[in-house]
C-alpha cells in the first residue's frame, strides 16, 4: 500500500469498515474470554445455573454453548 492511500485511509477513519472490523474482533475476543472463564468456573465445580446467572443468560443457553463438547 502506498503512503498516499495510507494517509487517505487514516484521514477517512470514519470509514464504517474500521469500526465494524473492530466490533467483529471484539466479539471474537469476547467469545474466547467467555470460554476461558466458563471452563475455569466448571473446573471449580460451579453449576451451569450459577455460571448462567453471572453471565446474565439462561442456563440452557450457556449449557448449549459450552456444555456438550
Amino acid at each position: 500500500m502506498t503512503d498516499a492511500t495510507d494517509l487517505a485511509e487514516q484521514a477517512g477513519d470514519r470509514d464504517p469498515r474500521v469500526g465494524l472490523r473492530a466490533v467483529a474482533a471484539l466479539r471474537r475476543l469476547l467469545e474466547q474470554l467467555e470460554a476461558v472463564q466458563v471452563r475455569s468456573a466448571r473446573a471449580r465445580g460451579w453449576s451451569w445455573q450459577e455460571i448462567a446467572a453471572e453471565l446474565g443468560v439462561s442456563r440452557q443457553a450457556v449449557h448449549k454453548k459450552h456444555g456438550r463438547h
Binding site: 474466547q32 470460554a35 476461558v36
Partner: protein, 183 residues
C-alpha cells in the same frame, strides 16, 4: 463439488481431517488444511509451496500460527482494529495467562472433542473449500486441485492467510509459481 476434486485435493482434505484427529481438535480448521497442504508431495500446491520457500520454513509458519492461536486466534488485522479502540490484546492475553495458564486463550471454546467420530469442518474451513471451486472456475480449470485449495487459503482473511503472506505466500505469488513453466 467434491466430485470435481483431484486425487491430490482429496488427499489434502482427508489429510486435514487426520491432522485434526492427531491434535484431538474438535473440528477441522484452515490450519489443518494448511498443514495437510505442506505434507503434499508432487502436486501443484507442493511445487508452489516449495518454489516459494514455504516448505522449508514450515517450523516458522507453525510458530506464527501458534502465536496467533495464543491470542485467541485473532489476526494481526483484528489486533490492530482493537488497538484502535484502545484495547491492548497482548495485555489481555498476558493477564488471562497469569490466571489461567499459558495458552489459555488458545483453547478457546474448543474443549477437546469427546466424539472424535464426528469431526466437522469449521465454518471458515468450509468457506475455503467453497472458495477453491470459485478459484478453479476463475482460472478456467476443470478440476479442483490442491493448488486451488492453497489459493483459496491465501484469499480468505484470517490467521492462516496472514501467516502465509508473512512467509511470502500470497495469492499472486502462488499464481506466479504455478504459471511459471516447469523445468
Amino acid at each position: 463439488m467434491f466430485e470435481r476434486f483431484t486425487k491430490g485435493a482429496r488427499a489434502v482434505v482427508t489429510g486435514a481431517v487426520a491432522v485434526a484427529g492427531r491434535e484431538g481438535a474438535p473440528a477441522v480448521t484452515e490450519e489443518h488444511l494448511l498443514l495437510a497442504l505442506l505434507d503434499a508431495e508432487d502436486t501443484g500446491a507442493a511445487l508452489a509451496l516449495r518454489a516459494l520457500g514455504a516448505t522449508e520454513r514450515r517450523a516458522s509458519l507453525e510458530a506464527a500460527l501458534a502465536a496467533a492461536r495464543r491470542r485467541g486466534g485473532l489476526s494481526a488485522v483484528e489486533v490492530d482494529a482493537l488497538a484502535d479502540l484502545g484495547i491492548d490484546v497482548a495485555r489481555i492475553v498476558a493477564r488471562v495467562e497469569e490466571t489461567h495458564g499459558p495458552g489459555a486463550l488458545a483453547a478457546g471454546s474448543d474443549i477437546r472433542s469427546r466424539s472424535p467420530k464426528r469431526r466437522p469442518f469449521t465454518r471458515e474451513s468450509k468457506k475455503v473449500l467453497e472458495q477453491s471451486l470459485r478459484v478453479c472456475l476463475g482460472r478456467r480449470e476443470k478440476e479442483i486441485g490442491d493448488e486451488h485449495l492453497l489459493l483459496a487459503l491465501t484469499a480468505r482473511p484470517g490467521i492462516v492467510s496472514e501467516a502465509l503472506a508473512d512467509h511470502g505466500v500470497t495469492y499472486t505469488a502462488v499464481e506466479q509459481a504455478l504459471d511459471r513453466p516447469r523445468a
